[in-house]
Assembly symmetry: C2
């Protein structure tokens, strides 16, 4: 019952990017990799998912790198979690006790509270 390390890496990478955003410069994965002490290949693989989700952009080649999208301030922590881990169910009921299963319902409710907290946290909140 854990968030993935990949999500951790992604969030820290994003915070780093935000702090350097004044420069409006593309940041190569090498920089991020150095800052976070995570291998370039793996971090790149992680960030590619954030690119796919359109929260950052990427450009290949010399002077390329990753850059925040304009709308980054509206991106929530939950958005990043989903971009990395996909939509997860915290609880997979092994038994088919149908819709009215109270155990399922209780877990769902807890999960909803977890998610809504993360939806209300924006990347901006992590950096101000």
């Amino acid at each position: 019952m854990k968030f993935s390390k990949a999500t951790d890496y992604a969030l820290h990478a994003l915070v780093y990017m935000i702090h350097r955003d004044g420069e409006r410069t593309k940041i190569p994965v090498q920089d991020l990799s150095l800052a976070l002490n995570v291998s370039t290949t793996y971090l790149s693989k992680v960030l590619t998912r954030i690119v796919k989700a359109n929260y950052i952009s990427s450009t290949s080649g010399a002077k390329g790198g990753y850059r925040l999208q304009q709308n980054w301030e509206n991106v929530s922590v939950y958005d990043i979690v989903v971009a990395i881990d996909g939509v997860q169910t915290l609880f997979e009921d092994s038994f088919d006790h149908g819709e009215e299963c109270r155990i399922q319902a209780a877990m769902m409710e807890a999960q909803e509270n977890l998610i809504s907290t993360l939806k209300n946290k924006r990347l901006k909140d992590l950096t101000v």
Copy 2:
């Protein structure tokens, strides 16, 4: 990012026991195993943890089995989760950004909301 199957099994076993509690009879793992379609050995291993946590009692030997403790109505879903999975942190920050790390803080807050929801759900609520 999931609760364990073991927790699922434990909760369903407990609900089953509660439904049969009128009899005040010891329920052998064999019965539970049949009801849930989980192997006796594994289920037993799971339930032993609930015994250790003192939410049910067990007696070995013929006519033995598991029985709810008197205080079962006050046991929360979170109590069971902890009895099975231990106290978990939903998020393990790989970086030591100290106490004031906002990412860590955001995840913690979300986790707290998850936990408090489960603390407020009692086994009783799963069965009434």
